[in-house]
Symmetry: C3
Subunit: 138 residues, 3 copies
């Protein structure tokens, strides 16, 4: 049994979803671990991780629009010094969460056929985001 850790970095293009599955799978391949557990942590409070549908892009469109309705910008927040999109971004990150775990079985991430791992950027502006990654197994 052995483990690997790393920090993966991604440039987002502002509000939206970046598919990080391939980058994560590449790192998994590099470690040579065939059976084990992958854990990711998004190291930010206004970006998060979501496992969702990888086929129809409209699902992400609807998801982003729904998050906008649930955590709207046009509300008087106490925390408003970083712009109107900041506090909603914290709320969206809290709702979606910053962790993801995927068992590794037979040398592959055990994601379902229609699942991908997305880094969700909730700020309007592009950001460089870090994901701490841990892999344990054999």
């Amino acid at each position: 049994m052995r483990q690997e850790t790393t920090i993966l970095a991604f440039d987002t293009t502002g509000r939206g979803f970046t598919d990080v599955t391939r980058a994560v799978a590449r790192w998994l391949d590099d470690t040579g671990i065939a059976e084990g557990l992958l854990t990711l942590l998004c190291r930010h409070t206004s970006a998060s991780l979501v496992i969702q549908e990888n086929a129809a892009p409209e699902v992400r469109t609807d998801l982003a629009a729904w998050l906008d309705r649930i955590a709207p910008e046009d509300h008087r927040y106490a925390h408003d010094d970083e712009g109107p999109d900041d506090m909603p971004a914290h709320l969206k990150a809290t709702l979606t969460g910053v962790n993801v775990q995927v068992p590794v079985i037979g040398g592959r991430l055990s994601l379902g056929t229609w699942q991908a791992i997305y880094l969700a950027e909730h700020r309007r502006m592009p950001h460089r985001r870090q994901i701490a990654a841990h892999l344990i197994g054999a």
Copy 2:
């Protein structure tokens, strides 16, 4: 230290919560691991995993009704080709999440007295759902 992985399958009866705690605990017993970490991943994008109250069934009734209010069917979604319950199901799965982790202490899942692990089906129709499971420990 050793690890085990498996795919558990459950038949849901349509929208609602299936208690999978016993099936998971049975698998844990079979492995003989007494101290460790259990990780589950629901391999779907319109079903999810929830740790919630195992006593009063009204809690699940209220939870389902709340999810219906928060992610209503009577909204114009861009992704609508799989029926009116599909996009709300994706939203509910995103809100509740597809992962669960439970430390194993003294041969048992360290869940609280009132906690159970539920597979949450968010589609109207029954589905066969898969949960990828990983256990590491000694």
Copy 3:
């Protein structure tokens, strides 16, 4: 490779957020594990775990107010025998989740600069809450 488990207990002061990062980091230090994975499980159904901003306290104020709007007390819930704040507390715990994982890298929790781990109490009254903790690594 080795592992440690424990149950951490915290007294909350009623609805709000208790920063547990320091207590968790202290336990990590005690174990001497420098590279690995930390997993936490809140053993309750009306309290939860949240990784969010540790700087501006207004973020927590806004987060609590948002949870109140999203899961309001002034609604007719089927489950109402434990007071008007109980069912909303279950909903808030479901939305925020009861798990947290943090890779341990170079002897430290790999949290981002602005991240802290909060135990979120969703009931009005103070409670003693337990967190099951698991650490694996070397």
